[in-house]
């Protein structure tokens, strides 16, 4: 029950923050539109890049939003108070995962609708699968953001974790250089990064009309990392602090 109440509480906070909602919806759509005009007359490239971006934006945005939200819980003392209540730590973290996951579902649906209808994005597979992967990515961002916030003491530090955690994954996920053309050691690093699998799953949807086994496996890996990160985050969330 406390999980449900916590999820509702986080969604309520979000609802009161109209500007954040506007940004959550507007930023991905604006960036996709920008891509559309960048790759004018290069439809193939746009299809490839926009598809991956549909999965990347939710990851980056939710990582940032969550690490700041969690840090705010710490600095305002609400976290300390929560830890004296019957609330279970996993309920708090999964509450964030679910609440921001729902927000990401809306975000991804709007961004995908724009990409497919107005920007003529073309994928062999279904847009529903793209949204599913985008939402999983968003939850991955939430989970890693929660974990990262455990290691940040100030907002300054929390924001710095974005380039540390997200950028290497973006660089090595196969968007800039195909993974099979990377040096072996780079490929090995890329192999242990969850975003690699998210991007591969998206590429599968781009290339195949039906959901492939590879796509499901990749999605499973990402979901597994989500659970692992949330459990790790709840373990690093100490009730007693110095």
């Amino acid at each position: 029950m406390t999980l449900l109440h916590t999820t509702a509480r986080i969604l309520r906070q979000l609802r009161h923050d109209k500007r954040t909602i506007a940004l959550l919806v507007a930023v991905p759509t604006l960036l996709l539109t920008l891509l559309y005009f960048m790759y004018d007359n290069q439809e193939m490239v746009f299809d490839r890049v926009a598809l991956i971006m549909l999965g990347l934006f939710p990851f980056i945005i939710m990582f940032l939003v969550t690490s700041i939200a969690m840090l705010r819980e710490r600095t305002t003392g609400t976290l300390e108070r929560l830890l004296t209540t019957p609330l279970r730590r996993t309920d708090l973290l999964f509450g964030y995962g679910i609440a921001f996951g729902l927000a990401a579902a809306i975000q991804a649906t709007i961004a995908s609708a724009l990409a497919y209808w107005l920007l003529d994005l073309d994928t062999a597979g279904s847009p529903a699968l793209v949204i599913l992967i985008a939402v999983t990515n968003a939850v991955l961002g939430v989970a890693l953001g929660l974990l990262a916030s455990a290691f940040a003491q100030t907002e300054f530090q929390a924001v710095q974790f974005m380039p540390v955690v997200a950028l290497p994954q973006i660089l090595l996920c196969g968007l800039f250089v195909p993974r099979d053309q990377m040096a072996g050691w780079l490929q090995a690093i890329s192999d242990v990064m969850p975003l690699t699998y998210a991007v591969e799953a998206l590429q599968q949807v781009g290339a195949h009309a039906d959901a492939t086994a590879t796509m499901w496996r990749d999605l499973g890996i990402v979901a597994g990392v989500v659970v692992l990160a949330l459990v790790l985050a709840s373990l690093t969330l100490r009730r007693r602090t110095p």
């Binding site: 509480r9 004296t84 110095p242």
Partner: protein, 247 residues
């Protein structure tokens, strides 16, 4: 009942509590007084079970502080208001009530009880400082706690409201709650059943307000504390044996 025995707490490089021992009886209000930096907040954090302690024990209602069974029974008010600024007063109270398995109607009543009935639908972020700390207080009271730990609950409140809040603490104590309140205001110290005077992490007085005043030979509690602190300071300077060093 709260029992603290030989508690040692370090924060950073500082030893904040050094072999601290005290007890807080059930069904009464115990005031925790002392200069800032004396260890009041650290002691309260240890009681609610969020303070990392070096050694010693804190027992609350017969259980180690911070154990899961106690989390249903504790209300904790931190010094800085710890409520969600981007939620309304009512939403804050309802959330903390829900964590204790209590319904919205009860939460709404507590909001009225702390004098925020008229501001229930305001965002906490839009409230004044005094209102904000009352919103925080509402969230500490909302779980019907048996142990109420309040870190400076009435700072910035007007006298009428402060009076009402104390009447409420008194009622909770009469109903069997254990109330531990830290304060800077001597007028409030007079309302407590017992006082713990703490300085530099050491207990220098543990008695009723009347007895504290009597031992210092004055009718003014403010003056009494000054006297006791000076007496204690002199003892320190002369290298006399102190409490906590006999371990």
């Amino acid at each position: 009942m709260i029992e603290v025995k030989d508690l040692v707490v370090d924060r950073g490089k500082l030893r904040v509590l050094d072999g601290f021992t005290c007890s807080v009886p059930t069904g009464s209000i115990t005031g925790l007084l002392g200069p800032s930096g004396s260890g009041k907040t650290t002691l309260m954090r240890a009681v609610v079970g969020v303070q990392l302690v070096r050694s010693g024990t804190v027992t609350v209602l017969g259980q180690p502080a911070g154990s899961a069974a106690l989390r249903h029974k504790i209300g904790y008010l931190t010094q800085a208001p710890s409520v969600y600024a981007d939620l309304t007063v009512r939403e804050n109270a309802r959330y903390f009530a829900a964590l204790h398995g209590l319904d919205s109607a009860h939460a709404d009543q507590v909001v009225v009880d702390v004098g925020l009935g008229g501001a229930a639908t305001q965002l906490v972020g839009d409230l004044s400082g005094g209102q904000r700390s009352r919103a925080s207080l509402a969230c500490a009271l909302v779980g019907k706690p048996e142990i109420l730990v309040l870190d400076e609950p009435t700072v910035g409140q007007d006298p009428v409201l402060r009076d009402e809040l104390w009447a409420r603490f008194r009622q909770l104590a009469a109903d069997g709650a254990t109330v531990l309140v830290s304060s800077h205001v001597m007028d409030e110290a007079n309302r407590c059943d017992r006082l713990l005077l703490i300085r530099r992490g050491e207990l220098i007085a543990d008695d009723t307000p009347a007895a504290v005043k009597a031992s210092a030979g004055t009718e003014d509690l403010d003056q009494a504390f000054l006297t006791l602190i000076r007496r204690h300071g002199d003892a320190l300077d002369q290298g006399a044996p102190q409490k906590g060093e006999s371990r």
